[in-house]
Symmetry: C2
Subunit: 136 residues, 2 copies
Amino acid sequence: MEKQKRNTKTKQMIMSVLSDSSSALCYDDFAEKLREKMDKATIYRILQGFCDDGMIHKIVGENGKTYYALCHHCSNEKHNDNHLHFRCVRCETISCIDEPVSISPLPSGYKMLAVSCIVSGYCPDCLTEQNEKVAK
Amino acid sequence: MEKQKRNTKTKQMIMSVLSDSSSALCYDDFAEKLREKMDKATIYRILQGFCDDGMIHKIVGENGKTYYALCHHCSNEKHNDNHLHFRCVRCETISCIDEPVSISPLPSGYKMLAVSCIVSGYCPDCLTEQNEKVAK
DNA sequence: TTTAATATTGCAACAATGTCTCATTAATTT
DNA sequence: AAATTAATGAGACATTGTTGCAATATTAAA
């Protein structure tokens, strides 16, 4: 790790965009919220740097895009990306769920090191709206 | 579904490459095995067609690449992509594990529709080799 | 079997996502 | 304040995948 030695305004802006969001963000989200204040390469480099430093983590969506999220519940000692991610099929946001993923026992002979898991469905907000629609 | 109406040689070749493989394959794998006998667009289109027809399924790896695998254990009536995928960190193959994924209960308010899950670690072959190395 | 209809293919251009180089700028150290 | 070093912006490039369209192959019709 030879990265992120200076705490610049650029980095602060990116970090604050991410802190203000309750869901994981992709490059386009950052670009939009920063209104072209920052170069594409810079955004990607800073996000990669934060990942290398263990401050955020990546989630690759089923659309092939990479999303970035703060490591809210990862301690410094024990960095754990193995939690669940949830993608809402209605509002299209991806967010972290703090419950650890329990995977049914693997067939013998396999050794598990990490889990990357995205559940899709309705998030609480969208499920509520959905139910209200049906109720009408 | 308006696809794959003709069973051409091209499709047969792609299907046989996939049948012969015990792991999921990405575009490059097909291109390599078919030795430039076939155009990129054709390969992608046929794979997409097989997906639409429910004969194969896609897995998006953590590298952002899409892998394709036969639906070995999906019946026609009940198409189930919600099984586990395993990526070996040593031989770098991605394969399907037929065990269904059991996810620890979601927080209330969420409604799960599908699961996309990739476990990484050592596959049986590579774990054996690893252990033999250590034993020496 | 020959013709007509239609699906498939190859090619090239394009699109989206992300990375790299390198000159310039900004932050830190001396 | 000057020197050092890290970060940034700009554009070119890389990779993965898609699209439009003319040419080809397959199937259906005559």
